[in-house]
Symmetry: C2
Subunit: 108 residues, 2 copies
DNA sequence: GCTCCATTTCAAGGGCTCTTAAAATATCTC
DNA sequence: GAGATATTTTAAGAGCCCTTGAAATGGAGC
């Protein structure tokens, strides 16, 4: 992942609805969720959910697959991990104090 | 760190100038850098740098201290770590694949 | 073919962000 | 005190983002 992609990813994560959707999709696992289920779960209208899913999709944080008339979305764990990794390596210079937080250090 | 703070932090990181500033400040270490040095280093006008430093400051990703007429900025490693930690714990449900990226796994 | 259903697209509006340049504030040196 | 320096504040304009509701797309079943 490069800087431009990371900027897009961070922008995608800076909205409450999109963060809620991503959280939901990560916890939903590999099966993913249908667009309608997502909209209902996060309390957004279908068009609003679609708008934000499109944003997450453009940022490559989620993937989608269409079966008949249903669209299933899934969190792209590799992309999410890649974003964090880029941030840790390139932006945080592998800083030890910051890295410790991934392990669950108490003082973060 | 809570959701609202995390949203603000992600928003702050979604701009190239601010990301560059943060990267610079992390690498600069505890001594920090003066506003003017930062502006020059990232290729921004003083007012533009000040604008973005203010954004990073409101997002609590950097701290500042004023000595006479010089203002020194430092990266807030604890806040940066806290943001990542919140994202990993709350949003990524401690997902193993995502977490592995902090250790530098090859497949991220 | 017609009608439902799931989802996306479109259009309009209001608000926020970014950039630029000028002005203001505060401090240092002479 | 005068002038130079460091930084912030302000103002204006352009552009993007978010929300809402209506319209459009396209598949399923009768």
């Amino acid at each position: 992942m490069e800087e431009a992609e990371t900027l897009t990813a961070f922008a995608a994560l800076s909205n409450a609805t999109r963060l809620r959707i991503l959280r939901l999709l990560v916890s939903a696992g590999p099966a993913g969720l249908r667009a309608g289920e997502i909209a209902e779960a996060v309390g957004a209208s279908p068009s609003r959910a679609s708008f934000h899913l499109s944003g997450l999709s453009k940022a490559r944080l989620v993937t989608s697959s269409q079966t008949a008339r249903e669209v299933v979305y899934r969190a792209d764990l590799q992309a999410i991990g890649g974003m964090i990794r880029y941030f840790m390596e390139d932006c945080c210079s592998e800083n030890e104090q910051i890295r410790a937080c991934c392990f669950g250090a108490k003082d973060c």
